[in-house]
């Protein structure tokens, strides 16, 4: 399974996603330059964290017009796997691949910390191999992660099982005190209708080794690789924990 990691000029988690895939997930991976429309035959495209074009205007607002995004949008619409993390999620919203928008965090501050996520969807490739309600410890680092959508859309997302993750306590409780940014219905990540496009604010690529504080992010990489390569991969998270 071949991963592609898009590099916008202001991406700064592109290298982190790249090394997570190469060194921990141990799958082929390539960088995809923002000015280049060629997706190089990748099976899954990661839109990484960072500040794509500086984001002085609005996070992700310019990135959607880049040559690579035209290809990514076509790829997603034809069922290709696209995984937007943090700034990548913001880009997916701006590009219309996922519904809703990001507001400033409730605190009006950038916030970097470990948070807990409750896995809500277990049908998409990213989460198919997790038990419903699995709690993951994965960090956030953003100032605009306060997910907003009209009630109708939120209801639709919930009804169709497209809420991928919610912020929660260490034992899975929901509540404002466990929601780090004020997002609607504690949403941390959502899927498109077909489950091939995932946007999430937390950074699974930062949670792939115990020395970094958590290896729970491996569970998602593990799931998506298993889903695509149908059982050929060993448990990545076990490997990482040992490493």
């Amino acid at each position: 399974m071949k991963f592609g990691v898009v590099t916008f000029p202001g991406s700064n988690c592109d290298y982190d996603a790249f090394t997570a895939v190469r060194d921990i997930v141990r799958q082929p991976v390539e960088f995809l330059w923002h000015g280049d429309a060629d997706l190089k035959g990748c099976d899954l495209i990661i839109l990484p964290g960072g500040f794509a074009y500086g984001d002085y205007l609005r996070a992700g607002a310019i990135a959607r017009f880049s040559p690579v995004m035209k290809s990514v949008i076509d790829f997603a619409n034809s069922g290709g796997l696209v995984w937007g993390i943090c700034n990548g999620f913001q880009v997916l919203l701006e590009a219309g691949l996922l519904p809703g928008a990001m507001l400033k965090n409730r605190s009006l501050q950038f916030s970097c910390r470990q948070v807990y996520l409750r896995t809500e969807n277990t049908t998409a490739p990213y989460t198919r191999h997790l038990e419903p309600g699995t709690i993951l410890e994965i960090p956030i680092a953003h100032s605009e992660g306060n997910y907003y959508a009209p009630v109708k859309i939120l209801d639709e997302l919930e009804a169709s099982g497209r809420v991928a993750f919610r912020y929660c306590s260490a034992d899975g409780q929901l509540g404002d005190q466990f929601n780090p940014n004020g997002s609607a219905r504690h949403i941390a990540g959502i899927l498109n209708e077909n489950g091939n496009v995932l946007g999430m604010m937390p950074h699974p690529e930062r949670a792939v080794e115990t020395i970094l504080g958590s290896a729970d992010g491996c569970r998602l990489f593990d799931s998506v690789v298993k889903s695509i390569t149908a059982g050929s991969a060993k448990s990545i998270s076990d490997q990482a924990r040992v490493a």
């Binding site: 000029p9 202001g10 700064n12 988690c13 290298y15 982190d16 090394t19 997570a20 964290g49 960072g50 500040f51 074009y53 500086g54 984001d55 002085y56 501050q109 950038f110 916030s111 970097c112 910390r113 470990q114 960090p139 680092a141 100032s143 950074h203 690529e205 930062r206 792939v208 080794e209 020395i211 970094l212």
Partner: protein, 744 residues
């Protein structure tokens, strides 16, 4: 506001901050009067900020060499220390105090930007950022405005650039009310075969300015930083630069590619005094001259005169001396990253820095006369020991009543802004980007692992204005010793030091005494720890009409961790572990947070420190961790032993502990619990390993005491009483958020 060409008069020279003797010397160097352009150049290059004219003699007394040093202090933009595996660590700390005092957000942001450029201009990729901040009393809304702006500025710049901000310190003292201190440190890693140098050494090499366009921002920033702050300083707001971290990120990538592809002779970032400083210093270092035509510099604004372009401190720019024949490759590379790259001149023989404007000569100065280490002025200033030191150092502590309830005092101290958690601050910094952070802010020192090796670097910043004000020499020694102790607690051995010296007006003999004493103390301690001083920065004139800041030398220390499996954190981990105190308790309340908070006094002598003992303690901790005897190690510092124990109980991110402490002592109860005598560390240890640890402590001649046990219950001092650790934890973490959410 545009500057107009003016006739050079003695009055104008004086307005530019050059003294009469300096003016005379310049005339002697040139053999004539300066042009207006040249006046601008001399005024910045001979300013305190660029020339170090009042500090360089003292700085030269610091230990600056060691076997692992690849580049010594002052030779390049930052020090370079070999860490094996063909890699070196590059690191430096710098102040941005004056700009932050008048425009906190941009002042702090560009402080971070400037220090990052110092690192990547050497070919190193920044792997971590730290800082050291000082403000006035946070009860003052203006102080909270400054803190908020500074933290946002640091966060927004580093977060966007993509460097993890992993550590730092924040202190609040009245002495910093009008002169906040913002010291920014950056650490990078470079392959030893790719270290770039700031030299213009090959004649005819083309000289480029790359990165952002040049505007009118920051003109005379260096001169601004070389005078006291007054009410008029508000008018200096235009001298504060504006940061653009996105462009800096592009400049980083382009710069590292250019160095990797071997396209350059030399490179220097543009910080203070912009084009002027980078041209004259690279020319001097390369033993050549540089000729530029200022009309070729890409500008943001119409009608800028050479004086303005030369003195602009617009951010995110570099001066690049390109290898002959590599110009097209450089241009293509910068185009790829969407950045400017403009040829402005070439390297010439003869050692002169010449500036033309459309072919007309505007300035012609020997580069040597402008460069630090060349012909810039050097002064030795008068020192006078302040008489107040006799009073404070002989303070009679028997006049301080011993309080009845140490636990009540602990509850107060844990919630003072100086001791309470700085989580409100560091959560605004991305401390994890680049996925190498093994210990983020919130433990004694930060640890960043080095990919593809077993090793990691530990790093911290430490300073103590109060101690230095009470005893500048020992205060500076303590800053070094505390940094070394913080590193040891993570299992690092100290490698080297960078320093930022924040003082008042050096022309005042008492201030100069404190400066000189601090440098002497720092040198003594650095020699003891074998940590050469690889570079840094001096910031004088942190002073307003009311008062000067405390003498505040900030130490940035980097240490080596040879195997990541030994990395240790400060918090307790297991119920039932024994609690061990290494080091000696002393009757020592001078300069303590306790004395300030409870008794309203900042007096006494700086706390006890014995450098030999400090060094042995560090070696003992490292040996004990390696022997597998230690579950946690936490340095005893602000707030003393009681605060240290409380922090061990409440700072574990996943758990909360209590403890039972049984400690008998002859010294005053308040000294025992809250005194800040140095060279003490609290460990948690599996009980069956106590004997081995004690033997090891004996070997290193460090006092060992088992003082208690980690529990799931209360925070208990035997014979005194108990506190609920959850209440301590709440107080510790909620103090700053509550303060900062206050309106008005």
């Amino acid at each position: 506001m545009p500057v107009r060409e003016q006739t050079v008069t003695p009055e104008l020279v004086a307005e530019h901050g050059l003294g009469e003797q300096e003016h005379a010397k310049i005339k002697e160097i040139l053999g004539r009067e300066m042009t207006f352009t040249e006046l601008g150049i001399f005024s910045v290059m001979w300013s305190e900020h660029c020339s170090y004219k009042n500090s360089i003699l003292m700085l030269k007394t610091l230990p600056r060499s060691g076997p692992a040093l690849l580049v010594e202090a002052g030779e390049e933009n930052a020090g370079v220390v070999d860490i094996g595996d063909g890699r070196a660590v590059v690191f430096k700390i710098e102040s941005h105090n004056h700009p932050s005092a008048v425009e906190p957000y941009q002042g702090a942001a560009t402080g971070v930007g400037g220090i990052l450029r110092d690192i990547f201009t050497m070919g190193a990729r920044p792997i971590a950022a730290l800082n050291s901040l000082r403000f006035g009393n946070p009860e003052d809304p203006k102080v909270r405005y400054l803190l908020d702006g500074v933290v946002r500025g640091i966060g927004d710049y580093g977060n966007s650039f993509g460097v993890p901000t992993v550590g730092g310190e924040v202190y609040f003292e009245d002495a910093y009310t009008h002169n906040c201190l913002v010291n920014a440190m950056a650490v990078g890693i470079v392959r030893t075969d790719r270290i770039a140098r700031a030299v213009a050494s090959v004649v005819d090499s083309p000289v480029y300015v790359v990165g952002s366009r040049t505007g009118r921002d920051g003109i005379h920033g260096a001169t601004f930083a070389s005078e006291e702050l007054t009410e008029k300083s508000e008018a200096r707001r235009p001298a504060v630069q504006i940061g653009d971290p996105f462009t800096e990120k592009l400049l980083l990538e382009a710069t590292l590619e250019m160095i990797k592809d071997d396209l350059i002779v030399g490179i220097q970032d543009m910080g203070a005094a912009g084009i002027t400083c980078s041209c004259s210093e690279t020319a001097f270092s390369g033993g050549q001259g540089i000729e530029i035509d200022i009309a070729h510099v890409p500008v943001r604004e119409e009608g800028m005169i050479p004086y303005e372009t030369l003195l602009s401190e617009s951010q995110e720019r570099m001066l690049v001396i390109v290898k002959i024949g590599k110009e097209d490759e450089v241009k293509a590379l910068f185009e790829k990253w969407g950045l400017q790259a403009a040829k402005i001149g070439k390297v010439v023989s003869g050692g002169r820095f010449k500036v033309y404007e459309n072919g007309e000569l505007k300035s012609d100065i020997p580069a040597e006369s402008l460069a630090l280490g060349g012909g810039t002025p050097v002064y030795k200033r008068e020192e006078k020991r302040p008489a107040r030191l006799d009073d404070t150092q002989n303070f009679d502590f028997s006049t301080i009543p011993v309080p009845d309830d140490p636990l009540e005092i602990l509850s107060t101290l844990i919630a003072t802004p100086n001791i309470a958690s700085k989580q409100w601050v560091y959560r605004q910094y991305d401390g994890m980007v680049r996925t190498n952070t093994a210990i983020n802010s919130g433990s004694d020192a930060a640890v960043v692992r080095i990919r593809k090796t077993k090793t990691a670097l530990a790093m911290c910043t430490d300073g103590n204005g109060r101690y230095c004000w009470l005893n500048p020499r020992r205060g500076a020694q303590i800053a070094v010793a505390e940094a070394a102790r913080n590193l040891a607690c993570t299992w690092a051995r100290p490698l080297a030091v960078t320093n930022c010296l924040n003082f008042g007006n050096p022309y005042k003999p008492e201030m100069y005494f404190m400066f000189a004493e601090c440098v002497r103390g720092m040198g003594e301690a650095c020699r003891k720890f074998d940590t050469p001083v690889t570079g840094g920065n001096v910031s004088f004139y942190n002073e307003d009409p009311d008062r000067a800041v405390y003498p505040t030398p900030t130490i940035g220390m980097v240490g080596m961790i040879d195997d990541v499996k030994y990395i240790t954190t400060q918090w307790f981990k297991n119920e039932g572990d024994a609690i061990v105190l290494l080091g000696t308790n002393r009757n020592d309340l001078g300069g303590s947070e306790y004395l300030k908070t409870i008794h309203g006094k900042i007096t006494g002598d700086a706390p006890y420190l014995n450098l030999d003992e400090a060094k042995r303690l560090g070696e003992l901790i490292v040996a004990a961790i390696k022997a597998g005897l230690v579950h946690s190690a936490h340095d005893v510092s602000d707030g003393g032993l009681a605060v240290c124990l409380a922090e061990c109980c409440i700072t574990n991110p996943y758990d909360l502990f209590g403890c039972t402490i049984d400690l008998k002592s002859d010294i005053r109860a308040d000294s025992l619990w809250f005194g800040e005598a140095q060279s003490r560390v609290v460990l948690s240890v599996e009980p069956k390993k106590l004997e081995r640890l004690q033997k090891l402590a004996d070997k290193y001649k460090i006092e060992f005491a088992k003082i208690g046990e980690v529990t799931r219950g209360q925070f208990e001092l035997a014979g005194v009483g108990t506190l609920d650790p959850a209440a301590l934890q709440t107080a510790y973490y909620s103090t700053l958020p509550e303060l900062m959410s206050r309106i008005g």
